[in-house]
Each structure stands twice: as C-alpha cells, then as structure tokens.
C-alpha cells in the first residue's frame, strides 16, 4: 500500500481543514489536517512508518477513494494515460465542434495590446478583405462534413478582427440567414462599438450571446480601447450593452486587467452597478489577465494568481456575487456542478477545443484551429474554399499538444485538470512541452471556492428542509386540532 502520486492537497480557508482531490479517480473530500499529515508521511516513508492515528475507518475511506493505493507509480501512470486516451477519443466524436467565422480581419479599434495587431502590417487591402457569399455557402456545406452528429442544435461564433463592423452588415445578415436554415444560433466576440447597427440581428435564432470587452472605468478604458481618431468608446459600448440586454441577448463583459488598470476595478464595478447590469438575468462579467508578451512588458502584465487576489477584493463589491467570476478556464463552475451532481469533476486531455475540434474560417478560404493563430498562414490547419481540405503538418504537430503526447505532463498530479496548458502560449513562449505558469495556485483557488459555495448551499438546503419539515408538523398539528 502506498500514497498515490496524484493526491492534491488544497488548504481550505482558515478552517485548518483541507480539500483533497485525486488527479484521476475524481475523488474530492474535505479532510482534517492530520489526514494530510498522515498521507504526506506515508508518501515520504513509502508507508514504512505507518500509524493508525487517523483511525481504521478513515484509512478505509482513503483506500476506497484512491488516495491510498496498491498500484505502483508506473501502474498509476498507465491508468492516467488510459483515461486521457479515452477522453481524446471522445473529443473526436463531439456532435458539434467549435465553429467560428471571421467576416473580415479589419477592426475599428486600435488597442495597443491587441494580439492581432501584427496583422496590420499586411496593409489595408488585406485587412478589409471581406468574406464572400460563395465562401459562406462553402462553410455551410462543410459544417455537416466536420460534425459527427446532429448539426441542428449548434452555435457559430462570429469573430474577427471586429465581426460586427457596420460595413459587415450585409454579409453578417447572409451568414445568419444561412444559419437559420440549419436551426443554428450565433454568438459574437465583439468590441460593441457598432452594435447598434446590428439591433435587428440580436435575439432568438439570431445572435443570442455577446462577449464585449471593457478595460476599466472611462478614464482607463478610453486610453486603451479607442477608435482610429483616438476617441474613446466607453459611453458608446455601454449604451450598446443596454440595447443588447433589452433585446434579450446574453451579454458577458470581459474585463481585461493588468498592473496599469487594476486600480480602476472598484470604480468600474461601481459604474456597472449603477447601470443595473448585475441585476439583469442575462448579464455576466469576468476578469481576465492580458497575455501579449510582445506588447505588454512583464513589468505590467499580471499573473493569473495575482489577479485571483485582486478578484477576492472586488467580488464583495458586486451585489450579485455570482454574476462576476475569474477566467479560470471554467474550473470553478465545472467543479461545483460535478459536486452538485455527486460525480467526479470534469477531466480533460487537451487544454481547449483547439487541440481537439475547432474550426475558424477566415475571408481567405483558410481554416485555423485556434482563435489566436488566425491570419498566420503558417499556422492554418487547412482550407475550406474553393475546396474543403483539412489537415497538414502544422495540424499534425498542434494536435499533439495533449496529455497522451506529453510524457512530462503524465507524471503531474494536475495533468487531467490542466491538460498541458494553452497550446498557443506554449508556442509563443517557446516552452519545451507545456505551459504551466501558476496553474497550481489558480486551481487551488478555484476548487476551494467551488467547494465553499457547494457546502454553503448544501447547508442552506438542509436548514430549509428542516424548517419546511417543522412547518409540516405544525400544520399537521393544526389540522388535528381542527378535526
């Protein structure tokens, strides 16, 4: 018997307790600190100095849930690899992959940190090239071939450049019409500047979701997300968010944060509260770090773990705290859902859909496998126009950034949660085989937060059901007295 090499220990607030997570069995437990001491002692001494201080019953629970195991480390590695390989196999069977259409690479903003700004050197003619109706027809012809199952329930994202430029009105209308025939809905990653012009395309069976970026209160936002004449956009974007919410569209505001903007967060939250956005059923906001090594010096960039600390400070300022969250890759949300469903948390073999199934169609007939590689033909994964042809050497190497193909990651206890990290950041940072940064710290924050909310809600439900039961007994007594 030995302690598993995939045991993850997470301090749980100031309670002196820990959350114990197992890296491939999916077990999640609340434990006292002496259980952690016991397991760590077991690890260090290979079980030679075994004590029974935590009690036989606890030891049996640790065995049943995989924290203590008869497997040696090679057997544990093989088990993890088996799960990762099955997950990869499942991704290939995804009914409706991630699809995105780029109407044009052009944009009306000049954000200094834009990761696509390198494309501006290609010149105005290239940037303004707009996708044609023939290309749209080819995309909708290709979609069924790229899906494994039913194509009648998916969503397509409009992406750019800026997809909702006023000049794109005609082609966006055509895209939506073609999508309607297949019963598809649309989302858009937009800067929100020309959104008013697209009012008729917002709502059910058209564009149902939007992500709009705000960098801070007007004094900060307007110095970072400005038009080509350097005029600010905060007021315009705010008005357009109201328009979208009025049309019943789900709006998620992405708040970009770095050291230059972090001090403005409380003011921005106050402004958003004053606008009443957090009380709207279809509104959410999330904070995210800005990653652009070429544009943002390390002196100004925030690490994700640092943003977690800042996020803790501002969360309490939001009246509806569930309406704001950290961009943690969905870990908190998915962990909490798994606990509510009484099952193992989501495991992944590939960091995102780009390593599995994602297709971004651009105005030049090219297909990309990642949002961040668009426009660089060296990183395309195929063509869709004039003919559909997916697969090349780049796709071959890109599709290997996953756990079954990353031996170093297979030995990491976080492997099936981190999945090797962002493939694009691995490439752009010239890392050898994965991009870890401070995933462990962020994972601990997200999981602890998910467990805290899960336990609070569970205790609330129990307390409500006790009150309800008391009410029933009272009513029964009243009924009896009446009779």
């Amino acid at each position: 018997m030995r302690a598993s090499i995939y045991n993850i220990y997470i301090p749980f607030a100031d309670s002196g307790q820990f959350i114990l997570v197992h890296g491939y069995t999916g077990a999640v437990d609340l434990v006292s600190s002496d259980v952690v001491d016991f397991l760590q002692n077991f690890e260090q001494t290979n079980g030679n100095k075994r004590d029974n201080s935590i009690g036989q019953k606890t030891i049996e629970t640790l065995i049943r849930r995989g924290y203590l195991t008869e497997k040696n480390s090679e057997e544990e590695n093989r088990r993890l690899l088996q799960i990762a390989s099955l997950l990869l196999k499942r991704y290939q069977k995804v009914d409706f992959p991630e699809f995105a259409i780029i109407p044009t690479y052009d944009c009306n903003l000049r954000c200094f940190y834009c990761y696509e700004s390198k494309l501006r050197v290609k010149g105005s003619r290239w940037l303004k090239t707009r996708i044609t109706k023939e290309q749209i027809d080819a995309i909708f012809q290709a979609i069924p071939d790229l899906c494994s199952g039913n194509t009648n329930k998916g969503e397509i994202t409009l992406y750019g450049g800026e997809p909702l430029l006023a000049e794109n009105l005609g082609i966006v209308e055509y895209i939506i019409e073609r999508g309607k025939n297949l019963n598809l809905s649309f989302s858009a990653v937009t800067n929100g500047v020309d959104l008013e012009r697209f009012e008729d395309f917002l709502g059910d069976k058209k564009i149902t979701r939007l992500q709009v970026t705000i960098d801070g209160p007007p004094r900060i936002h307007d110095t970072r997300r400005f038009l080509s004449d350097r005029s600010g956009t905060f007021r315009l974007i705010s008005q357009n968010i109201n328009t979208a919410l009025d049309r019943g569209v789900k709006v998620t505001v992405r708040i970009n944060v770095d050291r230059l903007t972090v001090s403005g967060l409380p003011t921005l939250i106050r402004i958003m509260e004053e606008k009443g956005w957090f009380s709207q059923a279809k509104f959410w906001a999330y904070v995210s770090t800005v990653h652009c090594p070429a544009k943002l010096s390390s002196q100004h960039a925030l690490r994700d773990s640092e943003l977690f600390q800042e996020f803790d400070k501002i969360k309490s300022l939001v009246s509806e705290s569930k309406k704001i969250f950290m961009n943690d890759g969905g870990i908190k949300k998915l962990f909490k859902k798994a606990l509510s469903d009484n099952r193992f948390p989501p495991l992944r073999a590939s960091f995102c859909a780009s390593g599995a199934k994602m297709y971004v169609f651009d105005p030049f007939g090219d297909v990309y496998g990642c949002w961040e590689t668009v426009g660089d033909t060296k990183q395309r994964i195929g063509r869709y126009f004039p003919e559909l042809k997916i697969g090349n050497d780049f796709m071959e190497s890109w599709s290997k950034i996953n756990i079954p193909n990353l031996p170093k990651c297979q030995k990491c206890k976080y492997a099936l949660f981190c999945a090797g990290g962002c493939a694009y950041r691995t490439y752009s940072n010239s890392a050898s085989d994965s991009f870890c940064e401070d995933f462990q710290i962020c994972f601990a924050n997200s999981v602890a937060s998910a467990c805290r909310e899960f336990l609070q809600e569970k205790s609330q439900t129990l307390s409500n059901s006790t009150i309800d039961r008391r009410e029933v007994i009272k009513d029964e007594r009243k009924d009896y007295a009446f009779k």
Partner: protein, 41 residues
C-alpha cells in the same frame, strides 16, 4: 463516513473497468476555447 474525512462526491473512476470508463467519460464537459463567453449558457 468518518469525522476526519467527508467525501463531497461519490461517482468516481477508482475501480472502473475500461468499458465503464468509456461510458462514464461519454458525459461531462468538452474543452472549450472561450469559457467566459459560455458561462451564461
């Protein structure tokens, strides 16, 4: 359940056979690229 350890979930992959694993892993989230955008769903 003992006092020192409180399991927060029960459906695990500890002893699942290959066949069971295949079935269990059919469900659950696929990785997505833009989780922020998807939170509202």
């Amino acid at each position: 359940m003992s006092e020192k350890i409180t399991p927060l979930n029960e459906d695990l992959l500890v002893e699942a056979s290959l066949e069971e694993l295949e079935q269990k892993l059919e469900f659950g989230a696929s990785p997505t690229c833009c989780d922020g955008l998807r939170v509202g769903s």
